[in-house]
Amino acid sequence: MSVVTVLVRDTAFGSRRTAEAMRMSVGQTLGDHDVRLVLAEDAVHAFNADARPAMIGGGDMQRPIETLRMLDQQMYAETESLEMRGVSELPAGVKRIARADLAEMLVQSDVVLTW
């Protein structure tokens, strides 16, 4: 089993890439990996409760978040990115992670996939 960290920075709007990154994160659990999904920079808007990226060319965010939560995988949003963008509420199962702790997580991961 490997520790796989998926770091997503792309915006969730106007493109399905962020949703695809999340789908890929779910897919990584099929390898029995310890998956850690981290959203940073503009990607954190995907965690805004009022955001509906699927309405403007984005993809479904709720299903992969719910699936990862059910599978007991770890999900994080970078604290600094949240504060800069005024995103204060996070979905259940998503934790905040400070940039310094994220750096440590990346060092400790076997595989890091950036989007």
């Binding site: 089993m1 490997s2 796989v4 792309d10 399905r16 890439r17 695809e20 789908r23 890929m24 779910v26 897919g27 990584q28 659990t29 099929l30 390898g31 029995d32 990996h33 595989v111 996939l113 950036t114 989007w115």
Partner: protein, 105 residues
């Protein structure tokens, strides 16, 4: 046993990523290393390019996310060895089996 480089490619052929992936894959293979490439999202479009098919003929193992390929109308080309239409399961296996995995997004 030879080390294996895993590559995730999600961008389309007109981006520089594809060129970099092909050159890196050739360099790794020239050093006796294995190369496994997983294409998804717009990266699926690379399947039908001459350079990618040449790379497969040279021995690189290429797996495509069939869901993304079908969404984009990419047709499966028969007769090209080492190219497989797969799924996220295949990429999950790849991340566990390769010595190093890098992503081009």
């Amino acid at each position: 046993m030879a080390q294996t480089l895993g590559i995730l490619l999600t961008t389309s052929p007109e981006r520089a990523d594809a060129h970099t992936v092909i050159q890196l894959a050739r360099a790794a293979r020239a050093q006796g290393r294995g190369v496994r490439i997983f294409v998804m999202c717009d990266g699926a479009h690379n399947l039908n390019t001459d350079e990618f098919q040449k790379l497969a003929l040279e021995g690189a193992e290429i797996v495509a996310c069939s869901q993304n390929a079908l969404e984009r109308g990419v047709e499966e080309v028969e007769g090209i060895p080492n190219v497989t239409w797969g799924s996220q399961y295949d990429f999950a296996q790849m991340t566990g089996e390769c010595d190093r995995v890098i992503s081009f997004n």
